[in-house]
Symmetry: C2
Subunit: 393 residues, 2 copies
Amino acid sequence: MNIKGFQFSAVEAAIKKPGRKDLALIFSEVPATACAVFTINRVKAAPVLLSEERIKSGVAQALIVNSGNANACTGDDGLIAARETSLLVAAGLGISDRAVQVSSTGVIGVQMPMDRIRTAIPGLIKGLSSGTLDDVALAIMTTDTFPKMEARSGLAGKSGYTVAGIAKGAGMIMPNMATMLSFVITDAALEPLFLQQAFRLAVDSSFNAITVDGDMSTNDACLILANGKAGNPPIVADTPEAEAFESLLHDVLLSLAKQIVRDAEGGTKFVEVRVNGAKENADAKKIAFSIANSSLVKTAFFGQDANWGRIFAAVGYSGAEVDQSRLSLCFDDVCMASKGIFAGGDAEARGTEVLKKKEFTVTVDLGLGDGSATVYTSDLSHEYVSINADYRT
Amino acid sequence: MNIKGFQFSAVEAAIKKPGRKDLALIFSEVPATACAVFTINRVKAAPVLLSEERIKSGVAQALIVNSGNANACTGDDGLIAARETSLLVAAGLGISDRAVQVSSTGVIGVQMPMDRIRTAIPGLIKGLSSGTLDDVALAIMTTDTFPKMEARSGLAGKSGYTVAGIAKGAGMIMPNMATMLSFVITDAALEPLFLQQAFRLAVDSSFNAITVDGDMSTNDACLILANGKAGNPPIVADTPEAEAFESLLHDVLLSLAKQIVRDAEGGTKFVEVRVNGAKENADAKKIAFSIANSSLVKTAFFGQDANWGRIFAAVGYSGAEVDQSRLSLCFDDVCMASKGIFAGGDAEARGTEVLKKKEFTVTVDLGLGDGSATVYTSDLSHEYVSINADYRT
């Protein structure tokens, strides 16, 4: 992985338990074309409020992110803390504080330990090196059990470039966005409007297509920085280079999104929910999420119970148009039900075999039109309850 | 409990495990004024389709209900089964089959064992007696751990009358409606339009104000039969008698609804979620359900963790209008947060004490207007996962 013009650093600021890095910095040696997507939760963390305002300029040069404290529901003091953090970073790097993005994840409702942040920032800046994103990926973990990273390389004109991303998230995962942070950097040069459009598309079919528990966070943020250091002529929309970049960006984001679902709190299954034949794509997505968020469906997955009836029930209450006499459902290639009723034969036994696998696909066909959608989710296990009953304590 | 002109019966039809009654009958000696509310799930069980059509007449005289099989996702065969069941009951009782309501609860996607139903119906009819509803309440249980019953008596003119109800439900509980059956009978005489209006109002503030897991069933039904045998002049709207009946009916339904939440699958807590100060009542209800259905909030209740931040997150993603700087939250009388931030002092310790209780109230104030709503829910425990991972097997 070689991403020109970016530097990284991560330190222990003692925001989390001792022995774990919890404060990280990504720095672009030149101002980067930037865009971001944030939570649509109306209770927004202070760093989201700050960063959302700043990203409107379309430019950013640094990101400081901490885990262990979400700086959410912290009022004016929280905003002052986020702003001070960005000022300290800006001063240390000799850049404008408006080019500094701030991101936080962790417990809600507790003020940031600013004394520790102040103490840690000089070391954080001193530690910058053009090494890898690995330490940053580690430092943003909360209940994650592994760091989430992906990188792909492409060619624009004669210049090779790389898109690399990291993400964190395991619970409070629901699109628009999830309790999820993801930071993507590329040394490709990109026309700003094209970047924005490509980024939103890629987010929609990746991070906005996963759910763990249906809970939407106060802190979600997904940011991309493109610093142009690869030296290519800026990629513009509707060119072969644009298409290649879009596909590559989509791959990176989808890989990160799937890693989040694979690391779902307490998850023992990785389930792809495909909905076809809906009246329109929006209906298909509604149905896919209705299935993927159903506690009863998710506990059946955990119990390896081929309970297709619960899935039909979730289809029915999704709010989308449904004709129950046209519904069909498969687990992988085993057809469990068609025309709304049980397929008969040995479907039960064969479906149960599919559900014993660690990864499988649920395909629902509505038989009404061409609308389709795919969503990724996990099951609901004892371990999920344990993790979330004990998270703060 | 003395409800004139009603007879009851329940038998073992071997639809469920041996040793448990699973087929029951409620019979009114005269045609009763009737109305009902059914699931709005677009995947509807056969008996729902049949009963919904029939109740339009405003008259019913008998209800046959089974547990162990939902007769849902069973296609045309399912409809034929429901219709045959009602015909057998009608023939046995000497009434029109259009006056027979049919209801089912249990596993989805399995055809009804009609041979056993046919065998059982003569005994079921022979067993009718003017005893009590107890046996019927027992026969409709699935994962319920106790039968749910309530009765209240009132006076209309010089005639005493009684409203008695039973219900079942413990999981797949989400309003409009829940996997929930409830049957209410009264010997009061009621003007049909008034009954309909009073019934819908009472359902809205009781069964439509509870949630266990946010899953909406294919089979929900709530039916009331009023046979007028008390001999009172029919109660009409906007009279003192109407007001008294409304209040009494509401009490019966709310008691049954709360019993369902108290029997929530795996539930260890009974939580009343009150939302005040919303822009309008609809907003308040949206927020209350967003809190009550959040897996993260429910696991925090189970963990006895005074994690008010998760509740604020659920408020924020409810879709209702929210100003985070005006939010406040109390556990019983302990104020945990006001103006959007932690209340400080010993709130954490005192809030944790509240959450150790088996029953408590969460009150959220939006500070935006006069809208309010109350919803009842349970926590999300290991036991919920166990019950639903193993339900069919």
